[in-house]
Every structure is written in structure tokens, then in C-alpha cells.
């Protein structure tokens, strides 16, 4: 049965527990970073951060400061373009697991030429894949495939203290998503679910996607 995530950003406090838990589970080292005047740190996804919480702060016309949080990760697309593009160069470099719907970058991704690896990264509508300069592999969220295969929850979902994330069978998650949407709309009339039909990681946003991140949504 395909799996899905709901990421209800109206609940996210940007504690970044998910971001750190993802690093810890995958044994990824710290990055040297600089103070850039933002809590978004490191500034972007990279081979050591398969998930980052993006911060978007702005002042509305009414003079109200709005601070939106967006825990960014691979959407495990229903029809992943990254897999199509990789297949043209090195079959098996990127695969989609039929059972769970997880999209994985395999060891074979190191065999992609730099140009092909770049093409895979650039094909992604959500700007997710990054290339590890050391291993030459494509790096991205793997849905905690080892955990999920063993019947466990992805570590980011398990760690989230606010219930922002829900993981489970796609049908069940879709039902929860609709319920959460109806609830969110009471406070945020513009609340919506992003690209629900096309992805396994469904974001609930309180307002237009531009107020979160350039690649928050595609459709």
C-alpha cells in the first residue's frame, strides 16, 4: 500500500526537531554555518541535511508580521520526474519502490555523469535533489525507507512534538488531510492542500505558497 505524509504547517512551531532527527538517523555530520540573520540554518538542503525547516517572514499590508514555517523534504512524487530523467542515463540510479511509493537515490546514482546528475536535480519540480561532491551520489530524503520497511514511522514524523506530520496509508492520510483542512479554514480562509494528487508528501498551507517558499508547490 502506498504511504503518504501530511505536513500541516499551521501546527509547525519550527522547533526543527524533525530536521535534527533526520540528520541523526542518517548519521549525517554537522555543517559549518554562519549567522545570516535567519533561523533557517543551514540555508538550504545539502548532502548533510535531507530536510530543512524554511522560515519566511513578512509584513502584510495591514502591518502584521507573519512568520511561516515550511519543513521541506522530497515529496515522493506519484510519477517522479527525477526517476524518468535518471533512467535515461543510468537505469536504477533513482528508483520508486512500488510498495511504499518511496523514491530513492541508489548507489548507482554515483555513476551519473555530472551533467546527468545536474539534469536529475534540475528536473525536480520541488528543487530537492542535491549532489554529494565527495561520493558523487544524489542525496535526498529517502522516506526513512529502512524504518518504514520495518514497520516503523519515519523519524521526522515520530519526533515532531506538535503533530504537524502524519504518516500512514495514503487513503487514511488523505482523510486526515481533509479534516485538518476544514479545521484550518476556520482560521485561515485561504488554507489549502498542495499538489495532493501528485505527491506523497502533502502540505497544508495557511495561505498562498509564495508566502512559504519558491518551490513549496508546483501546480
Amino acid at each position: 500500500m502506498p504511504k503518504a505524509f501530511l505536513v500541516d504547517t499551521t501546527r509547525c512551531t519550527a522547533c526543527r526537531g524533525c530536521q535534527l532527527a533526520c540528520k541523526e538517523w542518517h548519521d549525517l555530520p554537522a555543517n559549518a554555518t554562519k549567522q545570516r540573520g535567519s533561523h533557517q540554518n543551514p540555508p538550504d538542503l545539502n548532502p548533510n541535511n535531507l530536510k530543512i525547516v524554511r522560515f519566511n517572514e513578512r509584513m502584510t499590508k495591514e502591518g502584521v508580521v507573519v512568520w511561516n514555517f515550511f519543513p521541506d523534504q522530497c515529496r515522493h512524487c506519484i510519477t517522479p520526474v527525477c526517476v524518468d530523467v535518471a533512467d535515461m542515463a543510468v537505469p536504477g540510479a533513482m528508483i520508486k519502490d512500488k510498495k511504499t511509493g518511496a523514491v530513492l537515490a541508489t548507489e548507482k546514482s554515483a555513476k551519473l555523469s555530472p551533467a546527468d546528475a545536474k539534469a536529475v536535480a534540475e528536473a525536480c519540480p520541488y528543487n530537492i535533489p542535491r549532489i554529494d561532491p565527495k561520493t558523487k551520489r544524489i542525496t535526498k530524503c529517502d522516506m526513512c525507507f529502512d524504518r518504514v520497511s520495518a514497520g516503523m514511522q519515519p523519524i521526522c514524523v515520530k519526533t515532531c512534538p506538535t503533530g504537524t506530520m502524519v504518516f500512514g496509508e495514503r487513503e487514511e492520510v488523505l482523510a486526515v488531510a481533509q479534516k485538518r483542512l476544514a479545521f484550518a479554514k476556520e482560521r485561515f480562509p485561504k488554507a489549502h492542500l498542495v499538489d495532493m494528487e501528485d505527491v506523497s508528501v502533502i502540505y497544508l498551507l495557511a495561505e498562498e505558497k509564495e508566502h512559504y517558499y519558491e518551490y513549496a508547490g508546483f501546480m
Partner: protein, 188 residues
């Protein structure tokens, strides 16, 4: 990625790209290879507590051959129900961090160097200094001649990780020394 490429893909529609080999599930072996390395497989689960704040989230420490291999929230603990914040989620890195202190360090007055010491020496030093300070500064009576039996030059800093019972015992021990200055910082 530039806007042109995105608009192009959008125009085509993601699903119109079609199913390639990798999407049809011909890669079972690859996927299995990927899943075969669960790092906590066969590790012993040991209950522990996050040391960072007063919430005291419980964690499961996964131990194999006497070595910590992973940590995560304990779903059966009612306070955190498996969840952790960024600090608690990073406990394993605290353990593996090369900057973590594993032995007492001592810096002598006016010295600019830290020296490694063993626990016996350290605990003796602490006991010695508490005793010396108490002997020197014990005030038996105040200006009005009332019995006070207090030491004003020692201070007790508590921890919100202590339970009621532990607090009661610590309190009595500290009071018995004549210490009256006590505080506690809810975050430590």
C-alpha cells in the same frame, strides 16, 4: 532551476512524462538492498531521559555490544509520547561529539589551563571546600543575638530534573549545612 524549465514541465504535466522502467517496480532488489540495513536491528532498548530541559522527555537508547548506536523518543512515556525537540533529537550527536567532556577538568585559581582530574580528587576537593567555607563563615547568631546557624557564602543551584522526593533529600542535606541561598533554573 529556472522558471522556463518549471513552466515547461508544468505545461507537459508531470504525469504526461510517462512511466519509465524505474517507476514500474523492476528494481525490487535495489529497494531491498536499501532497506536491509536498519541500524538498530537487534540492539537492546534502554530507557533514558533527555538532559536538556525540565520537560524531561524520555528516550530509548539503542545499545549493541555495550555501545550506544542510536537514540529516539520513547512513545510509551506520557510526557513526550515519542516526540523530541531539536535538542533531544540530537542526543546521539551529544554522545559522539568530540567536544563532550568525559572527565572532570580543573582550572586552578589564576591559571589559564585546564587539567584533567579523576573523580576521587574532584569530589574530595568539593567536600574540602564546602567544609572549609562552612567552618570559616558559619554565623551562629545575628546582630540581635538571635540563633540563625547559617552560611551566607555558599549557594545551591538545583535542577528541574529532580523529582519531589529528590528535592526533599537535597533540601534537607543543604539546610543541614546551614545554607540558605537556594535557587533553581527551570531550563537545566
Amino acid at each position: 532551476m529556472n522558471t522556463t524549465r518549471r513552466s515547461f514541465l508544468k505545461l507537459m504535466g508531470v504525469s504526461a512524462v510517462g512511466l519509465s522502467l524505474g517507476q514500474l517496480g523492476f528494481d525490487l532488489a535495489e529497494a531491498q538492498a536499501y532497506a536491509s540495513k536498519l541500524k538498530i536491528e537487534g540492539a537492546k532498548e534502554v530507557g533514558s531521559v533527555c538532559p536538556f530541559c525540565s520537560v524531561c522527555c524520555q528516550i530509548i537508547a539503542y545499545v549493541r555490544n555495550g555501545k550506544l548506536v542510536s537514540t529516539e523518543g520513547d512513545p510509551d512515556f506520557p510526557v513526550n509520547e515519542g516526540a523530541l525537540c531539536a535538542k533531544g533529537a540530537a542526543l546521539f550527536s551529544m554522545y559522539t561529539n568530540p567536544h563532550r567532556l568525559t572527565k572532570p577538568l580543573y582550572r586552578a585559581p589564576f591559571s589559564d589551563k585546564w587539567v584533567e582530574k579523576d573523580w576521587d580528587w574532584t569530589l574530595n576537593q568539593i567536600a574540602r571546600r564546602v567544609k572549609d567555607t562552612r567552618d570559616k563563615d558559619m554565623v551562629l547568631k545575628n546582630e540581635k543575638g538571635q540563633t540563625v546557624n547559617r552560611v551566607d557564602t555558599l549557594f545551591m543551584m538545583g535542577t528541574s530534573h529532580a523529582s519531589n522526593e529528590e528535592c526533599a533529600v537535597i533540601h534537607q542535606a543543604i539546610r543541614s549545612l546551614g545554607m540558605v541561598q537556594m535557587d533553581h533554573q527551570a531550563r537545566v
